[in-house]
């Protein structure tokens, strides 16, 4: 069940890959169950829980009251008792109601209780974007969870990894925060039908390049790939790395890339302050600090709550053009007025990539 070949003739959407990963684990292990607000209605969390109720019944697929705090405690208790809950939040923002249980019990139980219990829990949540999601339906809060020892955090950027990390997360004996992105739901990748694991804690070089390393997190990986195409035009060769898991982080893969390129640009789907991008930058600085001067830059949400109107939302997020420009300036500081050909840029926005890259 270890990392299988990534080849498959079947193309599957991210949302279906998530569902298939859960379904296969549920079929394999009767202790796995899925619950959370609206997992069992006809919209089925944007389709990601579709069909599970019909196949596994209401004891293993059920909606809940609006009680995120207690439901997280229920998930933790059930996990300690040997079940393997998947608790679903349709937006990551709502997990702020679950912090006490996750931080004070879920993350600490195995340690604080001297190993007497395990908490094999998966907490799924989706980051929203666009359509006026606004300040409370758009947050990527993964770094809050990365901060807490005892939790793992994974943020797949494509359908192949979505299925493989979902299966890995369900099998993991620790609480895993599973970060999804709404805009990725309908992106496709070749996804094998059989069950497979994408090991937590291993990143992947998605595009090879020589001039700069771009790390993209969650759907910013997609944007980074678009930026990489734009940069080709300007003869800048970017290496694009997907960390996949945010904690434990595969810093070796990132640092190996930097050994070659000598430059690092990190693009997160979140704020940068104390964010995943800060952590990567800090680790890289610690590693190279004494020996080599590495230009490092972070990009992420603007340092504001997310505005609703597209006029402002457009400048809230990093995008292929802003990423490409930032990368270009890092490689050619002498020429920081460079701007991509607008036509090319527009085209690149529409590029769809078939993961796992």
């Amino acid at each position: 069940m270890q990392n299988k070949s990534t080849h498959s003739d079947r193309s599957l959407a991210y949302v279906d890959a998530l569902r298939e990963g859960m379904e296969q684990e549920m079929a394999d292990d009767p202790q796995v169950f899925v619950f959370g607000l609206d997992v069992d209605d006809h919209k089925a969390i944007q389709g990601s829980t579709k069909g599970l109720l019909e196949r596994f019944g209401p004891e293993r697929v059920f909606g809940t009251p609006l009680s995120e705090d207690a439901m997280t405690g229920v998930a933790i208790g059930a996990a300690m008792a040997g079940m393997r809950p998947i608790h679903v939040h349709i937006r990551m923002d709502f997990m702020m109601l679950a912090m006490n249980q996750l931080v004070n019990i879920g993350a600490k139980a195995h340690y604080m209780y001297g190993g007497q219990v395990k908490v094999p829990l998966v907490v799924r949540s989706m980051i929203g974007k666009s359509w006026g999601q606004g300040a409370q339906h758009s947050q990527g809060l993964h770094s809050l969870f990365m901060h807490i020892p005892g939790l793992k955090v994974v943020a797949p950027s494509n359908a192949y990894d979505a299925k493989g990390t979902m299966i890995a997360a369900i099998r993991d004996n620790n609480p895993v925060i599973f970060v999804e992105h709404r805009l990725l739901y309908y992106t496709e990748a070749p996804v094998p039908e059989e069950s497979y694991v994408v090991e937590l804690g291993k990143g992947r070089v998605c595009r090879e390049g020589d001039d700069i390393t771009i790390v993209g997190i969650s759907n910013m990986l997609m944007e980074a790939l678009r930026a990489q195409e734009i940069l080709q035009d300007a003869k800048v060769s970017a290496e694009v790395v997907d960390p996949i898991t945010l904690h434990p982080m595969d810093i070796d893969t990132i640092c190996e890339s930097i050994e070659k390129t000598g430059r690092l640009l990190i693009v997160d789907n979140a704020w940068t302050r104390c964010g995943a991008s800060a952590e990567i930058a800090a680790q890289v600085a610690e590693r190279f600090g004494g020996q080599r001067a590495i230009p490092i830059k972070r990009m992420g949400f603007a340092d504001t709550p997310c505005p609703t109107t597209p006029a402002l939302e457009d400048v809230f997020y990093a995008n292929p053009v802003t990423i490409a420009k930032a990368a270009h300036t890092m490689v050619h500081p002498e020429d920081d007025g460079w701007t991509p050909n607008p036509e090319k840029a527009t085209l690149s926005y529409q590029s769809q990539f078939k993961g796992p890259f």
Partner: protein, 321 residues
């Protein structure tokens, strides 16, 4: 059961006007929505207007309301500015929050409409904090805090009831019980339907009104609000109602299987807009309707003509001076 109370002629005019106004605004929003000019999700109150109208009718301009993301009705019933609301839905700079709020976070502080929230339940304790300040000011003002039935499942609801009763805060909690949280009926979320009984154990009056009767709601709200203006402490109204449209968006959703159109039929019969309209003469009603239409037309024009905010507004208002 439709209440026997006979409203005065001016009451009838006022209540009809507000009911009809809210209904028509939201129908227009639904009409415009497919054009993509409205830049945020909309949660319509069509069918539920009587609660906001009845509960806000006893309010003075110095009183406050708070509401959830399904807040157009409360906003308008309290006298919120329609132009600013429409411009906000359009994401324009003349919107009540300059385009940063959208439909889910409407606010109009000049008219004492507190900011709404898209995270269910969060405005309940915030409203109580406002009530605490009203109590300290001791000028007899109150706040009406609207919430959905789903919101009562969040822990902060019970926490807030306890605190509000302990401190005798001037707050009227109004639960708009449309029996659904998104697509899930309360039977799948509530162990029992003994909500009012539960709330009463916190030491406050708690009344359920079954039929969406705007006059009954107004009567109950008036009684409790009068009482709390004199230091009587909080009260709770649970108003049964029905959401005619889909949870979010402009359309209907009876074909999706989670509920039956018959449920709607029963509520259309109880609709308060024609009921109150029927108490007016045709002339009166037509005059009001015409006035409403022109108000709405003007507001839409205002929204259309307003500009999108400059990108430099992105960084404005992160921190207050």
């Amino acid at each position: 059961m439709i209440t026997k109370t006979v409203p005065s002629a001016t009451d009838t005019v006022r209540l009809y006007r507000t009911l009809r106004y809210i209904r028509r605004v939201e129908e227009e929003i639904a009409r415009i929505y497919p054009s993509d000019k409205i830049k945020s999700p909309v949660h319509l109150s069509i069918g539920q207007e009587a609660i906001a109208v009845g509960a806000c009718d006893p309010l003075m301009s110095e009183d406050f309301v708070s509401a959830s993301y399904r807040g157009h009705a409360a906003y308008l019933a309290k006298g919120g500015d329609l132009k600013k609301m429409m411009a906000e839905l359009y994401g324009k700079k003349d919107g009540c929050a300059g385009g940063k709020a959208g439909s889910m976070h409407l606010i109009d502080m000049p008219n004492n409409v507190l900011g709404m929230s898209a995270v269910v339940g969060t405005t309940i304790p915030v409203a109580a904090g406002f009530a605490l300040s009203l109590k300290r000011k001791a000028e007899g003002n109150v706040i009406v805090a609207f919430m959905g039935d789903g919101a009562t499942e969040e822990g902060c609801f019970g926490e807030t009831l306890n605190f509000s009763s302990l401190h005798k805060l001037p707050i009227l909690f109004v639960c708009e019980n449309n029996d659904y949280a998104i697509h899930t009926p309360s039977s799948k979320r509530w162990a029992t339907d003994r909500l009012c009984e539960r709330v009463a154990t916190y030491g406050m009056p708690a009344v359920r009104i079954e039929d969406g009767d705007v006059l009954a709601i107004r009567e109950a709200a008036t009684r409790h609000i009068d009482n709390m203006r004199n230091g009587g402490g909080p009260a709770f109204l649970e108003c049964a109602t029905y959401r005619w449209r889909e949870h979010v968006g402009p359309g209907e959703d009876y074909e999706s299987g989670y509920r039956d159109r018959n449920e709607l039929a029963a509520w259309i019969e109880k609709d308060q807009v024609p009921r109150l309209g029927g108490m007016l003469s045709t002339d009166e009603r037509e005059a009001i309707d015409a006035e409403i239409e022109s108000t709405i037309t003007e507001a839409i024009a205002f929204a259309e003509n307003s500009h999108f905010p400059d990108t430099n507004q992105l960084m404005a208002h992160v921190y207050a001076e």
